[in-house]
């Protein structure tokens, strides 16, 4: 079985986000970028499936600016076999919407015929939580979102999902789209020899136009602003003082 893993280049999760003064977006120039943490979990799960003999090839895909090739190299260094880079934007500030990404991914799925698509459940930049579900819709495939456990047997996958009430287990027909949540696994770090080897792994370069997909936005960004700041609080010296302050504020 072939596994397709879409990965996104996003601001590193440790970087403090700054809104641009003109309100046009978040400043991403000269900012550390990394693979979306949820996508790392998806790559790791694909590698584990391969190690368990349930997958034979892992194809990583990234859609965005040319620099996304760094993100793909990370996926290759972790253990993906080859990569497809789809250039869909010139400016690092251009975020390709999930619908357009899903359309390109659906075309790639038609070409590559994977048995499973493993995605992160959301990207930590736009926090949309939509791409996997949209790919599934466009392909008419089954979907299992927010996975914390994945078990593939024959033509079905049993997936435990993190939901509001706790955990839900469902069984989906393969081929399927699975979006992964935090507790599925702990992604490995790429070793130095694997980073060197990854440089020689194949990476195809395509454009959105190659797939005939229009990536123009459906949601026009009117403005981007800072959230309201909280007024500075105070430190209290003891539990007694805390209880007094809470009573004073009418909070208890």
């Amino acid at each position: 079985m072939k596994v397709l893993v879409p990965v996104k280049r996003v601001i590193d999760y440790n970087v403090k986000v700054r809104v641009k003064a003109d309100g046009s977006g978040v400043d991403l120039a000269n900012v550390k970028m990394s693979m979306n943490p949820f996508d790392e979990i998806a790559v790791e799960e694909a590698i584990r499936l391969k190690e368990a003999g349930k997958a034979d090839e892992i194809v990583a895909v990234s859609i965005g600016v040319k620099q996304s090739q760094e993100t793909l190299r990370t996926a290759l260094a972790m253990g993906a076999d080859r990569a497809i880079l789809v250039i869909a934007a010139d400016d690092v500030h251009t975020d390709i919407e999930p619908l357009a990404v899903a359309k390109i991914l659906a075309k790639i799925v038609e070409e590559e015929q994977p048995g499973l698509v493993l995605c992160g459940k959301q990207a930590i930049d736009n926090d949309m939580n939509a791409t996997g579900q949209m790919v599934s819709a466009l392909l008419g495939w089954s979907q299992a979102t927010f996975a914390s456990k994945l078990d593939i047997e024959g033509d079905a996958a049993t997936v435990t999902r993190e939901v509001d009430g706790g955990l839900q287990t469902i069984k989906v027909k393969m081929p399927a789209i699975v979006t992964v949540d935090l507790r599925l696994n702990e992604p490995r770090y790429a070793s130095l020899p694997n980073i060197m080897k990854a440089k020689k792994k194949p990476m195809d370069e395509k454009t959105a136009a190659d797939y005939g997909v229009d990536v123009s936005r459906r949601l026009e960004v009117v403005k981007t602003s800072e959230p309201a700041e909280r007024a500075a609080g105070i430190k209290v010296g003891s539990v007694d003082e805390l209880v007094a302050k809470l009573k004073e504020a009418g909070a208890v």
Binding site: M128, G166, I170, S225, P227, S238
Partner: protein
Amino acid sequence: MAVLLLAEVNDGELALDATAKAVAAAKSLGDVTALCVGATAAAAAEAAAKIDGVSKVLCAEDAGLGHRLAEATAALIVSLAGDYEHIVAPATTDAKNILPRVAALLDVMVLTDVSGVVDGATFERPIYAGNAIQTVKSSDATKVISFRTSTFDAAGEQAAAPVETISATENPGLSEWVEDKVAASDRPELTSAGVVVSGGRGVGSEENFAMIEALADKLGAAVGASRAAVDSGFAPNDWQVGQTGKVVAPELYIAIGISGAIQHLAGMKDSKVIVAINKDEEAPIFQVADFGLVADLFDAVPELTEKL
């Protein structure tokens, strides 16, 4: 101008708070028709009919819609979509699962976790874990929206609106439910509780979480946890507060042994009063806390439980 609102129905029961908050958010967009879906949904439909602002309820009961799996539920919503300009829901895990599928089938974008309505096409939503608020204007004919419930007040009650029974569409049969593991609890629900007491990595173990729970029970509060505490196995996943967990905005939020990572702050910084108890005085949680207590939580929490 009409709105189709997917009411939150769990095992035949209406989640009133989440649904009423979404109705309040949607009211200004047009006439709200609430859709109640499930293997059983009639009781939920009756309850939804009494939410102020609901003009009609559609009730679809079918075994194939049990547990509201995405494929069958999305197919039903798409079959109804032609009559509506907005398709909305509270941003629960079910809605996050279903709505993007609906949007893609309609060839429109989805707007998730919307925190503000500017007009019928323009909405505000948090991005980058709430570190920025983006205002976006949709050019799509149908707007598919999930509302972040913590930013809206629940709609009140009204005389019951009419309920109409509709049939399910053909089940694509792509997925089946196996089991739910839901912890039964007498505590208030995390996303609607007036007080939330949360523990982090500093709590140290699953056993020590009993201390957090004791304080919560004293206050009639819900119990939350940071991602670090859930990852470490101290607390179940459904307690997680943060960017990828639940977003809460109670009257009082007490963060215990939580350092205050960006992704945790994203889930609680709109709380009215925030208390932080942490032995590390440099912990970022103190920057958002109204009242900070630098102390060993193992001394401070039992003392606080006793004195409140």
